[in-house]
């Protein structure tokens, strides 16, 4: 038996590994080819949204350390890809979140007070304190519902987008997930169904290099995450996720194409999770501080600020004032949220079904007529 003959087994080649869309250069100047050429006020709005996100993250982390809220999962270092992609969606479009995109939620107009109420799980929390902090729902803002199980939002976004298209709208749906989530069942079925059903869905992969303690190299042997589009016939693109204009431009182009029926798309947004996975995590146990330091150099806010300088659109004093105002606004929201009562006992039993069935009524009665629990200990 001999097998010296040549059989064309292909070690797959990447179509993507050296092409990453960038707009803002290190000097803050734009590469005109890919520049979305947004009006200055809009650039400023995007920048301010990133700053606001950063401020909120910083404060909530502090609150958690003080034991005033139970949990927070933030977006330190990932603000550009979140705000840039959210801003690229048109008002009629929908956003299906992962758990790290409160910046997108607020961009959509969700009131800061409501968001903070969610962090406290109080009586005015839109989800009635039923879920952990950062597990909000924003239907009025064309924004989905956060759940913890990784990936599930992807197939849902596909069904939603397909439905919108069948109803004759030009609605596009974007769906966020981390690079770790590409290993999930729902990435596979979501991408595959999207490809087969021609769904107007933009898969937004935040490749922040880490899935809790697992680095992206251990997540998959594919050359890039964008390459995964090939398996589903879904066009893909890689973008500098720390560049809000590049992210905006790329996602906007996908939106316009999807709206014309040319979707779905997969966008790999290259960024970095500068903080811990969440307030429950201490990343010093598994990654080198110089890696983090080198990523701090690429801070999307610093880059954004440099760009504003090239536009002469924003002064240090304005920046200072904006930060102060935002902090004050947030402080007021926190103070208000902290004052609000817990959700009523009845909210635990209602809303499991449209109409509460007998067994839950019975249990509610038992609970309400029984003794109260001690507080958390």
């Amino acid at each position: 038996m001999q097998t010296e003959q040549v059989v064309p087994i292909r070690t797959p080649e990447s179509s993507f590994d050296d092409e990453v869309v960038t707009v803002i250069g290190p000097d803050g100047k734009v590469r005109p080819e890919a520049d979305p050429k947004l009006p200055v006020e809009q650039v400023l709005d995007l920048y301010k949204a990133m700053v606001r996100t950063r401020i909120i993250d910083t404060q909530l982390e502090r609150l958690q350390r003080q034991g005033r809220i139970g949990f927070h999962i933030g977006s330190l270092g990932e603000e550009a890809c979140i705000i840039g992609s959210a801003a690229a969606m048109r008002p009629q479009d929908w956003i299906f979140p992962c758990y790290r995109e409160f910046g997108a939620l607020l961009w959509r107009g969700f009131p800061l007070q409501s968001y903070v109420d969610n962090m406290f799980g109080n009586a005015e929390d839109v989800v009635m304190g039923r879920q952990m902090p950062d597990h909000y729902s924003g239907k009025k803002y064309n924004f989905g519902s956060v759940s913890s199980p990784i990936g599930t939002q992807m197939t849902q976004a596909v069904g939603f987008g397909w439905a919108a298209k069948k109803k004759g709208t030009d609605t596009v749906v974007s769906v966020y997930f981390g690079e770790g989530a590409t290993s999930s069942n729902d990435f596979h079925t979501g991408m595959n169904f999207a490809g087969v059903m021609d769904a107007p869905v933009i898969f937004l992969c935040r490749n922040n290099r880490w899935a809790i303690s697992v680095p992206s190299e251990k997540q998959t042997a594919s050359k890039t995450f964008a390459d995964k589009g090939v398996a589903y016939g879904v066009p893909a693109v890689r973008v500098d996720g720390n560049d809000f204009l590049a992210t905006y431009a790329v996602v906007r182009e996908c939106v316009e194409k999807s709206a014309k029926g040319e979707g779905p798309f997969l966008v790999e947004m290259l960024t970095y999770r500068v903080g811990g996975h969440s307030t429950s995590d201490d990343p010093r146990a598994y990654r080198a501080s110089d890696e983090v330091d080198s990523w701090r150099q690429t801070d999307p806010l610093v880059r954004g600020r440099k760009h504003l300088d090239t536009l002469d659109a924003w002064s240090d004093a304005e920046d200072e004032a904006f930060r102060k105002d935002t902090e004050a606004e947030l402080k007021a929201c926190i103070a208000a949220a902290e004052e609000k009562p817990k959700p009523a006992l009845s909210t635990m039993f209602e809303g499991v079904y449209d109409e509460t069935p007998w067994h839950l009524k019975e249990q509610q009665e038992q609970c309400e007529n029984g003794p109260r629990a001690k507080e958390h200990h």
């Binding site: 597990h135 519902s145 849902q156 069904g159 087969v196 809303g351 499991v352 079904y353």
Partner: protein, 326 residues
């Protein structure tokens, strides 16, 4: 009135509601051109087209996940899982997502969706074409679970299920699919979810069953009647939320209870029924309630008739329970 078997009755319900409501969408493996491996969706593809009757890729998680997305948008998807044994790749989407969406979103999002799937044994299906996983879904808050035993109920319950604003698991007893024919109106009618039916009145012992086992329970009721035992037979129809009043009322009369189901005994729905009745009618119980169920083994192939809780096993349970002296 036309005579229909259960396959035809389900088909008729789907067709009726698809004509009524263009938001009703059928999707699943092989549901399109060929009309499903049991031919339940036959003809729907031709009438409603491939936009409303969708042959999906082979991924149950994708079927349910996209159906949830459609429901979130406002459609009323009716996904089919080819055999309920193959529902497990979609388990996460069902229990973590569909079941919890209304609650977790503070009522913003709802998932009006009916998961249709054939259930049960007796068709030489072995391990993976015979199981009855209902108790897993009953344990999951937020889901409703329905299992008709006959064509008439199937159509009326399916119409209710599609119009229901919560996710419903709709189990179709495949052993009954073509075994029973009865009058079923062409027109629409509904049978309320959550209402059991006393299908035979009796005095001495209550038998609770559903799906294909209902017929076995009825046959046993006939059999024990010859020995002077009068059995009251209840067809649950809706498993969850269960119509506890009908059961408790019957047990208060008979003092004795036998529960029949195909699923394995341990943590099967029989345990819940037995427990509820014990909690609510303890003083009325004149004999220990009994469960006649599938054994706690995987579902076998050659010996499936020895596995199932058929008449030959129900009858002695009825007799013993009825004659039990406390």
């Amino acid at each position: 009135m036309p005579q229909m078997n259960l396959v035809q009755a389900v088909n008729s319900a789907l067709r009726t509601e698809m004509r009524n409501d263009e938001d009703v969408i059928v999707l699943g493996e092989d549901v399109g051109k060929v009309g499903g491996v049991f031919r339940v969706t036959q003809g729907l593809f031709d009438e409603f087209g491939d936009d409303r009757v969708i042959d999906t890729p082979l991924a149950e998680g994708g079927i349910i996940g996209t159906a949830i997305g459609m429901a979130l948008y406002g459609l009323r998807p009716v996904p089919e899982i080819q055999f309920s044994d193959f529902i497990f790749p979609a388990f996460d989407q069902i229990v973590s997502e569909a079941a919890k969406f209304r609650y977790r979103s503070g009522g913003e999002y709802t998932v009006p969706m009916v998961i249709r799937t054939p259930v049960g044994g007796g068709i030489r299906g072995g391990h993976y074409h015979s199981q009855s996983p209902e108790s897993l879904f009953i344990h999951t808050a937020g889901l409703k679970v329905v299992c008709p035993s006959n064509p008439y109920d199937a159509k009326g319950l399916l119409l209710s299920a599609i119009r229901d604003d919560d996710p419903v698991l709709f189990f179709e007893p495949k052993r009954v699919y073509r075994a029973v024919k009865m009058d079923v109106p062409e027109d629409e009618y509904t049978i309320p979810i959550g209402k059991a039916k006393v299908v035979r009145e009796g005095e001495d012992v209550t038998v609770v069953g559903w799906g294909a086992m209902l017929f076995e329970a009825l046959a046993s009721a006939d059999e024990v009647a010859e020995e002077g035992v009068s059995a009251e037979v209840i067809d649950l129809r809706t498993l969850w939320p269960v119509d506890i009043d009908t059961i408790v009322e019957s047990v208060k009369k008979t003092g004795r209870l036998v529960i029949v189901h195909e699923a394995p005994k341990a943590c099967g729905f029989g345990a819940e029924l037995l427990s509820l009745v014990t909690e609510k009618a303890f003083v009325h119980l004149e004999a220990p309630p009994v469960r006649v169920t599938g054994w706690d083994t995987p579902f076998p192939y050659t010996l499936e008739m020895e596995y199932l809780p058929l008449q030959h096993r129900i009858t002695p349970a009825l007799l013993e329970t009825a004659k039990y002296i406390p």
